[in-house]
């Protein structure tokens, strides 16, 4: 029987089920669920509302930045500066508000700082051909140093006239008892997911990661898009910084130190491919959740906190290992 054109168009390579079980994100979700079930039985304190509230709030900061990082990674780049940019933006917010300005000015200044940093990274990478690793490694050092300069390396905990508003913004729970940072994370994840799937910009981000040369030849504005993803990455770090400042109620110059590792780990565990071309917003959230559950469970199970790095690093390597195994099976 001859197939009609509509049948050909509707033909998919994989059924709905196989495409789900083929995705790394699916298995990470399973891992998170299994870990949660195990911990609820193994410990008394895991499944308490207080602990769950803590977990959901703790992983949001990493997750929010992992959304921006996922875009960068899809284009085949990397942004090592996010931890320091978070610190710099927090400090700009803190210093501005501490000087007596309102929260609007403070947030604008912080986001403006993030945009400038993102433009700097992006322009060097896209227009001058610097390797992303080098530029953002430099920025990792520069941004934290600037934060120290801005604050004279002091702790800021007085935020001027809008002090309480800032603390409510980051520490409150305005809707149905869900921590505010979680709400911001969900909103940003939906936005990121929408952009990746439904906009021309998102399509081009994937195209650049798949084959940058081809993207350029077919008329995709490769350079502006690369600049944009680094700006978005810095902005997510800035937003996380603002929210975290409100939650902590104080800013020191060492917040966000080493956070780039957790953020990149979250994106990679969630299925983003460091070689470019693959990644999802949902994956970034799930990856961040898995890391936080691991961290949390180590504490609850009474394992020495020094082991944290080993477990998180192991999770990254394991995630990439699964990806390798899948590739080897496909190429056979």
């Amino acid at each position: 029987m001859a197939t009609t054109i509509d049948q050909t168009i509707a033909q998919k390579q994989h059924s709905w089920l196989t495409s789900i079980t083929n995705s790394q994100t699916f298995w990470v979700v399973i891992a998170v669920i299994l870990a949660c079930v195990f911990l609820s039985f193994a410990t008394e304190s895991f499944a308490t509302s207080k602990n769950l509230y803590n977990i959901t709030r703790n992983f949001t900061f990493v997750a929010i930045i992992a959304l921006g990082m996922t875009l960068v990674i899809i284009t085949g780049g990397i942004d090592l500066s996010v931890g320091s940019v978070l610190c710099l933006c927090s400090m700009v917010l803190a210093v501005t508000m501490n000087a007596g300005y309102g929260i609007e000015i403070g947030i604008l200044a912080a986001l403006g700082t993030a945009i400038v940093v993102g433009l700097f990274n992006g322009i060097l990478i896209a227009y001058l051909g610097f390797p992303p690793f080098v530029v953002t490694l430099g920025m990792l050092s520069v941004a934290r140093s600037l934060a120290m300069v801005a604050s004279n390396n002091t702790v800021v905990f007085q935020f001027g006239p809008d002090h309480d508003l800032l603390l409510a913004l980051g520490g409150g729970a305005w809707l149905w008892g869900i921590a505010n940072p979680v709400l911001y994370m969900i909103a940003l994840a939906l936005l990121t997911g929408f952009v990746l799937r439904w906009t021309r910009f998102g399509r081009h981000v994937f195209a650049i990661g798949g084959n940058e040369h081809a993207a350029r030849l077919t008329g995709v504005p490769v350079r502006p898009i690369k600049v944009a993803v680094y700006v978005i990455s810095a902005l997510t770090a800035g937003i996380a910084g603002i929210v975290q400042t409100g939650w902590l109620g104080a800013v020191t110059t060492n917040i966000g130190a080493g956070m780039e590792l957790q953020v990149i780990a979250a994106a990679v565990i969630g299925g983003a491919n460091l070689a470019g071309g693959i990644g999802t917003a949902f994956g970034a959230l799930v990856g961040a959740a898995l890391i936080e559950v691991i961290r949390n469970s180590l504490g609850l199970l009474g394992i020495n906190a020094f082991w944290q790095g080993t477990f998180i690093g192991g999770a990254i390597i394991l995630a990439v290992l699964f990806d390798r195994i899948r590739n080897i099976r496909q190429s056979e």
């Binding site: 168009i9 033909q11 390579q13 021309r200 084959n211 040369h213 081809a214 071309g277």
Partner: protein, 246 residues
């Protein structure tokens, strides 16, 4: 009237004369084989037609009007499409996404339009059917054969009202069976009234599909004749320089 006419075109890179005083004309509904050894100037010539380089001297005219191309986009706007040698495909995207890369269809207004997946799958499917290719719009390019990949790259040229298609070594890296498939695609483009330039090293391909052959050697055009009036032996002689001019 010729569809595209090049008059005394030259391109110099410093002291290097990559293309020297070449004139040629392309007719609609004709496949022109462009042959020559490495460094003979084929790619440079084609890149000028594609808008990648501007000629140092000479003029190009399209349907009688002077053609000045600053960027590849200008060439595309004039109906000149290129199928690159490496095909310029993104492995991580579907066939339809690759066909529409850089010209995605959208629903909605201005910068806020969203991708129109249904329309793109439909149109890509129609083009593949027209090309008699078995390529399916939703398949990832990663998992495709060489012939299917060619079909995706060629399908791009059929999106707009292309008048000239430049094909750079389309049969260089694919299996024998797929070569036949690609040559059929080229005949199909010709039958639709397009002018096709086929750059190739493969003598049998040029002699089976082209109507005319142009041979270049060291930046100069050394032959421009009907396929029926030439032979593979003569063309080989022209390429190597054993025959000076024909």
């Amino acid at each position: 009237m010729a569809l595209l006419e090049l008059s005394n075109i030259s391109k110099h890179f410093g002291a290097i004369h990559a293309v020297n005083d070449v004139s040629l004309s392309l007719q609609a509904g004709e496949v022109t084989g462009l042959m020559g050894d490495n460094g003979a100037g084929k790619s440079t010539l084609v890149k000028m037609i594609a808008g990648n380089f501007r000629p140092s001297h000479g003029t190009m005219r399209m349907a009688g009007a002077e053609l000045i191309l600053h960027r590849p986009v200008d060439a595309r706007r004039h109906g000149i499409e290129i199928v690159h040698q490496d095909l310029a495909l993104c492995d991580n995207l579907t066939a339809a996404a690759n066909v529409f890369l850089g010209r995605e269809l959208r629903i909605g207004f201005g910068p806020f339009g969203i991708l129109d997946y249904a329309a793109m799958y439909k149109r890509a499917g129609q083009i593949f059917a027209e090309l008699k290719s078995e390529t399916r719009p939703r398949d990832l390019v990663k998992q495709m054969s060489g012939g299917q990949r060619q079909a995706v790259a060629i399908a791009r040229t059929m999106l707009s009202q292309a008048r000239i298609v430049l094909m750079d070594e389309p049969t260089a890296a694919i299996s024998v069976r797929q070569v036949a498939e690609v040559l059929n695609l080229i005949r199909h483009l010709r039958d639709q009234g397009l002018a096709v330039i086929l750059i190739s090293h493969r003598m049998p391909d040029v002699f089976s599909v082209a109507d005319r052959v142009i041979v270049m050697r060291r930046g100069r055009k050394v032959a421009d004749k009907r396929i029926a009036e030439s032979s593979p032996e003569e063309v080989t002689g022209l390429i190597t320089g054993a025959i000076e001019q024909a």
